[in-house]
Amino acid sequence: MLKGIPVSDGIGIGHVRIIKNKDVKFEDKAIPENEIDNELERFHDAVKVFCDRTDKMAKEMEKSVNPKEAEIIKGHIQMISDPFMISQIDDQIKTGVCAEKAAATTLDQFIEMFSSVDDELTQQRATDVSDIKKRLLRILLGIEEIDLGTLPPDTVIVTKELTPSMTTEIKKENIAGIITEKGGITSHSAILSRALEIPAVLSVPEITKILRDGDMVIIDGREGDVLPDPSDNDIRNYEKSKADFIKEKEYLDTFIGKDTVTADGYRKEVFCNIGNPKDGVTAVKKDGEGIGLFRTEFLFMDKDSAPSEEDQFNAYKKVAETLGGRTVIIRTLDVGGDKDIPYLDLKKEDNPFLGYRAVRYCLGHKDLYKVQLRAILKASAYGKIWIMIPMVTNVYEIRQVRGMVERIKTKFDAEGIPYDKDIKIGAMIETPAASLIADILAKECDFFSIGTNDLIQYTMAADRGNADVAYLYKPYFPAVLRSIKNIIECGKKEGLVVGMCGEGARDPMLIPLLIAFGLDEFSVSPTSVLAARSCISRWSMNEAREVADKALSLPTYIEVEEYLKSIVRK
């Protein structure tokens, strides 16, 4: 079995068709002076044909895929129409260079320029220019373009890289899967295969050499697996998972646009965890009802100095506006000695997870923290933003942050800067200390959000990354379950909104327990929204309480895990 990057969900079973996208060969011939005008005309005609065809492709694509992807193709017309590039090519032809050579040389220069820039988006444009070059050369040479539209059903396309022009011709009902040698999760190949809803695995080394036309192959777009030459048994197994996948997807799609409710009508909410403003768009697309965890570290990573208030404000405002009035919970900076951010002067520590991090670090660097709090408060005028404090262990931390926020509010009032006067401030509950004093914290917080990943690690005193103690890193230990129960109950007693933003919130084995304890908001990755909503809908409060009682009565995690496995509903 071969491994690649899974970028588009689903299972594909079919026959390989290798799509060669190698450089188009042309003869480099000199043009005599009396034919130069003809050569110029030939070049300009080719550009015109290119634009006409591309425009047609874009229109097709708008219909069959979606307008956003069509824009990638429309961009090709804009690029080739650059008058300065055209005149650069003209100038070469005027010296007696043939159209093919002149165009190829100039476009190669831009490919080189784009790919040498240290910026992913610009590097991706190099793929576009290379696609333009090949198609323009084919037009000049009178070679037909690869016709992907005529591929038979159950074809698995195998190619170095999927180019935008290739995808426009694809008939998605005939294509079972896509495998490429290049590209990651944000590449054209990935975006386009997701838009076409074709299972895809990218970056499988040498795959165009390993597979041959007509070979049988299975691809699993969830795991990133490519299985060449499968046995009958493999095919039967994957046929079954494919059918299950399709059935499950159809079932989950029935939850789009629906409220999240338990079987007996208790209203819950499924939120999303995001790491940058772009994810906010995905969260809305995937039907998230809010943002339960907006990690702000991305603003601070890969930089030479701390982000300005303006930069931060723009990012927070963008997400608030994207969510259009739905709640956005912003977690303030959560860094420590395990991260390498030079300008923050984070010292290497023996125990970074027990060290100077998160709110501890921020309260020790109030100038830096103030900038973030100001930016969040400013952005709160543009939507519904809540502030979440990470790694709280005592009430004093909440009071200090509240004090800072109040002072900023007074300043804003004096300066006439708008903000949400009722902005909620809450704690991320992820330490045993916070769990043990949840009743006290509840009196000083507006909301709780349980971070299960760290809560388990700190409660079980088991390093997440250490394989020898990995068996301890599980939510099914009675200690963890009791802790979660206590946090939710203390929060609810004071009338707080209580959410959960770790992996636990999407675990179908834990969901009945969380319902029974009274959790309000389940924050999951955007792709898990519908699965979580569906799972919640399968439980009534009474059934959930029965399961919770039983689970809490079991003395070992093995029994708990086994029991919860036996009652799972999706």
Partner: protein, 88 residues
């Protein structure tokens, strides 16, 4: 010749879509329009050169216009950049 220094304020900088918006608007002027960035003079009417320049969010640039309608060209260029190049 007229010019103005400013900072790019849209999150994508001069990437494909914003750069296209910019080039299409500026191309209607007769004046030469150049963006000085990182020690290079980038032709503001050339989409390909603009993309290759990789002008990002927060980049400090100088827009220079020179020709018969230079004032109007500079004015529109500055307005476009300050308003975020059509980014939503």
């Amino acid at each position: 010749m007229v010019s103005k220094q400013l900072t790019v304020s849209n999150s994508q900088g001069f990437h494909m879509r914003p750069a296209t918006v910019f080039v299409n608007a500026i191309s209607k002027y007769k004046s030469d329009v150049t963006i000085k960035f990182n020690g290079n003079d980038v032709n503001a009417k050339s989409l390909m050169n603009l993309i290759a320049a990789c002008i990002k969010f927060g980049s400090n640039i100088e827009v220079v216009a020179s020709g018969e309608d230079e004032e109007a060209a500079l004015d529109e260029a500055v307005k476009l950049i300050e308003s975020g190049l059509g980014e939503e």
